[in-house]
Symmetry: C2
């Protein structure tokens, strides 16, 4: 491609860095944008620049919003005394899509990993302990991923908060809604059996 | 999600309209952008706004560039007298990646489709005939897709240009480089056999 299309090539290269897009799909996406540059490309660029300029991490919970206190932390209706601890903002979004949790969050930003120098301070665990002390918290729900790293981190947090006497819970494990037993791993079936309940 | 995150939700909705991205992958892409808002998101938004503002269709060939005459049409080294006719800018990009063609292009923007009101004027076929008359063109290479619509359009163009006496050719059909016979369709094998050549 020649010199005056360098801008388009650069845009394709930048788009190809997005997760889920490779060089080929980035080209297709940019070509679609070029064909709809008035209706789609300009609004998308404008919105992206606006979000890039205004987005910031909530100083309280670590969620990403557009002010120093995110919309969830700022909502008085959500001061229920329950804090849901998640690994990542993506997990917070997933919890919100579930529409089941009415309290506030604490985003760790990862899991403990001493080999990578990810200790409790990096994961904002001291701040969680401070919130438990300050915000009249009644329950901490550990909604970490059901992985080895996630569960190790959950145990560490439970130990760190044990002295506060706050109630500590974790998400139930079992058969997903719509799940078929034949496709579930053995660990999930075992957990669902151990946690069986009266029908 | 609450009000102040509406901007982020809107951005996800816009991203989900890109080909190759759905709601879930758009969320992942936006979250990655939010986490790298300085290094990736701001440059991407800036570049996209710049391209949206400067991109335009080449008045001669229909390619997308940043001026009324695209870089290929403006390049005197490419005035070889050969015009390659393609359906779409994506096909032009594919030809350019092949680095085999040194002439100029004519982008139709689709194939003939009377039922959809896509006639010769919409596909800029009269402009192609005018270029053949004006630009001392020696050869028109029909590089349309090997589909029924593509080949119908190719035959229409060949008929429309027949009176000019210009040489009209089309891309060779045969076994792709690296192609395995067992995976090729019958039509391709037949075409490759009919066009066989001395070894």
């Amino acid at each position: 491609m020649a010199d005056s299309t360098r801008d388009i090539d650069d845009l394709i290269d930048l788009m190809a860095r997005l997760p889920g897009l490779g060089p080929r799909s980035a080209r297709r996406a940019v070509l679609m944008l070029l064909k709809k540059r008035g209706q789609v490309m300009a609004p998308l660029a404008h919105r992206m620049a606006h979000v890039a300029a205004t987005a910031r991490d909530c100083l309280t919970c670590g969620n990403i919003g557009t002010s120093d206190t995110c919309a969830i932390c700022a909502d008085p209706a959500r001061a229920t005394g329950e804090i849901c601890v998640v690994e990542d903002v993506a997990d917070l979004w997933a919890m919100e899509r579930g529409r089941a949790f009415k309290g506030r969050y604490h985003v760790l930003g990862g899991t403990l990993s001493p080999l990578d120098d990810v200790g409790p301070e990096v994961l904002r665990i001291p701040q969680l302990a401070a919130r438990v002390a300050d915000e009249s918290v009644t329950e901490v729900i550990l909604a970490l991923n059901a992985t080895v790293d996630g569960q190790t981190t959950a145990h560490y947090i439970a130990d760190a908060l044990a002295a506060t006497g706050v109630r500590i819970t974790s998400l139930a494990q079992g058969v997903p809604i719509g799940g078929e037993l034949d496709y579930l791993d053995d660990g999930t079936i075992g957990a669902a059996l151990r946690a069986r309940k009266a029908f």
